[in-house]
Symmetry: C2
Subunit: 351 residues, 2 copies
């Protein structure tokens, strides 16, 4: 079931008020069943389960008879504030006949979590069993644990980090530079997406989401017919693949929204204003089951390992699991047979 | 000493003739001393030693009293064919008043090596003691060993691979896409560099040259004053750093040249037309000392390890050394105290 909830005027961390904020969501499973709240990643949306003819991005993990079984659990996924899939964001109207575009205020991961908290409250939900999400979704999971310590019994941060590293900001920097320097971006005032910049941004993302091994095993230097006679012609299959991924993306995601969510990631640091990330962790009272994926370029396992080590004083049952995979960061979107059961077991055990 | 040598008409692997080809070079050390030939990387040039007031890119390794001691060895470095530092390339004249620009034929690593071989012959040099180079330079070193097996007694391929992996081509793909889609590129017919595309290309290079640890330790999420009020404002030092690297680069390197050298790297596969890379290695008769740098994202140590293992049947003294570093790929341009002595010892031992 898809719907939206109006949370009224929302004030960002930086003190800017956005009137009439709407949060779009997906809701499945028994109406009064215990709730699993799902946080989506940078290019995700509220359709984690999706529909039969268009399965959602986590339909391999969540659904009837899946590891997160919707015959047992109620599952709610909300589109992020600043997103482009129904929740208030740069494509929303600032006035009649005028969209926010680049006039939308910067939002942080904390703003996203705060807005979802208000949205859940409006739906009459004051507690959930667990919160789960990967990458930007995992950043939200950690903020949930700190901002609303009594809201969830369990937290599953996947493929994420207590703060975005400089190396992560570096990738975002290139993506942002590519979009904002595409003449079609026009300071955010475009009518159709700045395709070149957004394609570059997507391709820069792609090379960080999958591991070297994945690319090399998948393509094996497979060449196209001839090597081309011009620099714009594609010579290798990997080149066609990346161009295709870029093209596909510009048809489904708004460039301004992408810029806002990159900024939200850059600003992510659970320790900001809280005396550092180790100190911030002290607020978490939920059990944390952190999952990392081997070979994740931006979010290495060591960081989640450190996070869980630090949590163990207060939450001795918290744990970190590294999934052995060749996918790297994208591991949280594939191979559920490897790690889905871990989540299933934890959910059942702690219920 | 800087000079150039004319090698006449040069025919590329693909059968295209380039008339009046010139190769620019640097030459240092005793005129009749044994020769070390140096191959430069993607953004390098013939100035490996350089001048007092503008030291070359390998001046930490090569010079009087350095590991490659120019009081003992004669050192020659040549600018690559297709480059932009004096050797024939896209900035050269195709006719009076007209530059090649994007009409320059595609060149391969083999073309580069072939042209340098002809240039050395013109200088009366028919044999050298050793050939050394990193990255694209290391690709040349390997081709030297296969194309001219009797030319060098020793080969030092550093931070390189027998073929560019798909993951490597992926980075090049993004760089090429950024340059050729910059409207200022204008199909190669620009008067001033396409700054946006070339900056993006440089930044994409930078994130692959240095390791995650380097970026994270160097910047530690250091923020600039405030977070900016617009997407184009820089919020973190890493962002300023990358933008600066992009800006600096567009003032020193020609975008078309960059495109040609990316293509040369993409096409690099010592096994191409030779029955695979393992088969191709059988032609090498020189002793190979391969050096890799821990954490190299595109050129992992495993690949050079495999290469040397395969060589050992025929060249039991060949060896692979992994340098322990936090720099990753850029390791071959820094920390000479860690690995320069290895080269010094090998040069002396085998002389």
């Amino acid at each position: 079931m898809y719907d939206e909830v109006h949370i009224g005027t929302f004030t960002t961390e930086s003190g800017i008020s956005i009137p009439d904020v709407v949060i779009s969501y997906e809701r499945a499973g028994p109406t009064h069943g215990p709730i699993i709240f799902v946080c989506h990643a940078l290019t995700g949306n509220q359709c984690s389960i999706g529909l039969n003819d268009s399965p959602g991005w986590w339909s391999g993990l969540i659904g009837e008879g899946k590891n997160i079984d919707t015959s047992r659990w109620q599952v709610i996924t909300m589109n992020v504030l600043g997103g482009c899939s129904g929740s208030t964001g740069p494509q929303s109207m600032i006035h009649e006949n005028q969209q926010y575009k680049a006039r939308f205020p910067f939002v942080t991961v904390r703003d996203i979590v705060h807005s979802h908290y208000l949205a859940l409250k409006k739906l009459g939900i004051h507690q959930v069993h667990a919160i789960i999400g990967g990458s930007l979704g995992g950043m939200q999971v950690l903020e949930w644990g700190i901002m609303y310590p009594d809201f969830a019994k369990m937290l599953f941060p996947l493929a994420t980090s207590p703060y975005l590293s400089d190396y992560g900001i570096a990738y975002n920097t290139i993506s942002r530079f590519a979009i904002t320097n595409d003449p079609s971006w026009n300071d955010g005032e475009y009518d159709t997406n700045p395709n070149v910049g957004l394609s570059i941004a997507r391709m820069v993302g792609m090379i960080s989401y999958r591991s070297r091994e994945q690319f090399n095993n998948k393509f094996s230097r497979e060449a196209r017919e001839g090597w081309g006679n011009h620099h714009e012609e594609k010579a290798f299959q990997i080149e066609s693949y990346l161009h295709y991924q870029g093209e596909k993306f510009v048809n489904r995601f708004d460039a301004n929204s992408y810029l806002y969510l990159l900024k939200a990631m850059d600003s992510h640091d659970i320790g900001r204003g809280r005396g550092g990330w180790l100190r911030a962790l002290e607020s978490i009272s939920a059990k944390v089951v952190a999952i990392s994926y081997k070979g994740d370029l931006i979010y290495p396992s060591e960081t989640l390992e450190q996070l869980v080590e630090a949590l163990k004083d207060k939450n001795p049952t918290s744990k970190h699991i590294e999934v052995d995979t060749s996918f790297g960061h994208d591991g949280f979107l594939v191979e559920y047979e490897k790690w889905g059961h871990l989540i299933e077991e934890e959910l059942n055990e702690n219920h």
